[in-house]
Symmetry: C2
Subunit: 340 residues, 2 copies
Amino acid sequence: MAATVTIKDVAREVGVHPSTVSRALDPARRERLGEPVVQRVLEAAERLGYRPDVAAASLRSGRSKLIGIVVPDIANPVFSPIISGLERALSARGYALIVADQRPDRTGGNDLVQMLIARRVDGLVLANVALKDDAVERCLKAQIPVVLVNRSEGESRVPSVVSDDMAGMMLAVEYLIASGHRNIVHVAGPQSLSTGMLRRRGFVAAMRAAGLDPDVDDIEESAAFTREAGLPAARNLLARRPDATAVVAANDLLALGVYEALREQGRRCPEDVSVIGHNDMPLVDLVNPPLSTVRISHREMGERTGALLLDLITGTHQGALQIVTSPVLVARASTRPLEG
Amino acid sequence: MAATVTIKDVAREVGVHPSTVSRALDPARRERLGEPVVQRVLEAAERLGYRPDVAAASLRSGRSKLIGIVVPDIANPVFSPIISGLERALSARGYALIVADQRPDRTGGNDLVQMLIARRVDGLVLANVALKDDAVERCLKAQIPVVLVNRSEGESRVPSVVSDDMAGMMLAVEYLIASGHRNIVHVAGPQSLSTGMLRRRGFVAAMRAAGLDPDVDDIEESAAFTREAGLPAARNLLARRPDATAVVAANDLLALGVYEALREQGRRCPEDVSVIGHNDMPLVDLVNPPLSTVRISHREMGERTGALLLDLITGTHQGALQIVTSPVLVARASTRPLEG
DNA sequence: CACTTGTGCGCAATCGATTGCATAAACCGT
DNA sequence: ACGGTTTATGCAATCGATTGCGCACAAGTG
């Protein structure tokens, strides 16, 4: 078997003490050592094929070079690019990523954060916080660096990386208004999530700014950010407001639910009703009709989350703790100007 | 600060030796202990909020309860459900998952497997092997349990969980033939991957079985399993075989590339040309026209991969080492019978 | 030339849990 | 009642790397 080569073997090979090898291998503390020794250690380590034992290092130093991320669903097209971007940022700096999936059916969901902490992760990313979430409390209490991504908390107690959800929704509404629409309604996301609440606020703000004061009838809250939840929500909304000429959905999946509801009623998109989504997830440019939406770069959010978290861990962070990225409107064929 | 409570604290609390606590906490070796002691230990551990230090346990025991997975792209709709299913199977048994993304731009891709091994993972899942891949060699040499998923190796040296790619493609072709099509062509995937090669073989086999002997002109190999690669491949193929009435693509993204090529040429799907894909990824039921395809349950593959790997690790495995799942045909609107 | 200052490295304790072996107590049969 | 088992638990070494402390030896100072 490949007898695992330890720091001791390298030390014996070079003729120095293990502690010297340890120092020589760490770029930070290498400075205090003599140049020739460092070279010999490096050469020997390379030659013997030395790989540090992360477990041992972690045990002694308390640092694991591991980051944990908790997501509601790995396969969700919103979260998978976030994970991807995060992994990229982390691996570039020698960190690895543990992914934990917070499905509702999971026994004691709160255990997830505990589990990751028990694994001694150096930092944590939460992609699933609600506006009021005790997972954040637990991280705070555990003194562990944590960054929220995609969704933020009610009170901003911890750093976060999010899209400007209000602004994104305002872009969508303003675009419709500029196209002549006045009877605009909103399929909102769950109001327990920042994305649901802020997008709804953006809707209301943009409508008011145009002198259109939306009332409760103009908004229907969906049970989840899914196609399945979008359909009944859209049905209700369209029944209440048959005169609506445009529907703004809180995300793309909900917008696809709206498509289905319209189809059920025999109304056409965009001829009868314009629809606009949020996220610009893959393939929505190919659905029928191609969906107008608000584009968010989830991958970029993941990358910036990683950079922020690592800076926090190493204590080198400077700059804002609340990072907000700017979404852009992508107009496709599901929206059209209202004819006079 | 939350002074981390160790096994020693629990031992002191109960009035026993640390080793006793260690045994009491392990369901396997608990049997050999007295009932009352076990109870008191469990109670004390619970009360003090004891969390085992995985790093310490890993160092001593050599087991990390970590599994690594290497994927070509986390955000790919084929691989993200695999990761999701895998994570579910693993977490149910106390294992956590480290995800590593094997992007082409990565410096020294082979380091990924090494990196995971250096982190002392108990097992490895490779979702990105080519037919001839030295990553497998390295795992074999490192004596580490490994399972391939989605793609298999040329020589079956290691366990794998894959869809029956040949059979899936034959389903597609047979369906078209039964609908009256004869001039059927194939946009193949990269032949360096098992999915690309086996699906191509399935195409050839099904055609031959129907007495139609396809030649090289009927097949165009794409550079990658992407929409972008599908477009030029489809262009070439349709130029060579303008009389083709049906195109079978090696996966859904390639099929979407075929859509674009048809649109460029002003030909309609399915009126002029039927198209069929492979994978049944999310949203292909909503594109225009809804794509007929061969459905693979990637999530289930992920779950079975996890179960297999854990059985391998614990040495309790019995049964086949090559698991093959059966795909099903999903007929939608992109295919239609050929009118006599 | 003695004496302080500094540099480079060795020493040994330590992180927390696991495990082979030792041992004391309980139990058994005759 | 006693030797021989069996059973339950204690003991201490161990995994591999990190790190505070301290010791040489060299360089610098009066």
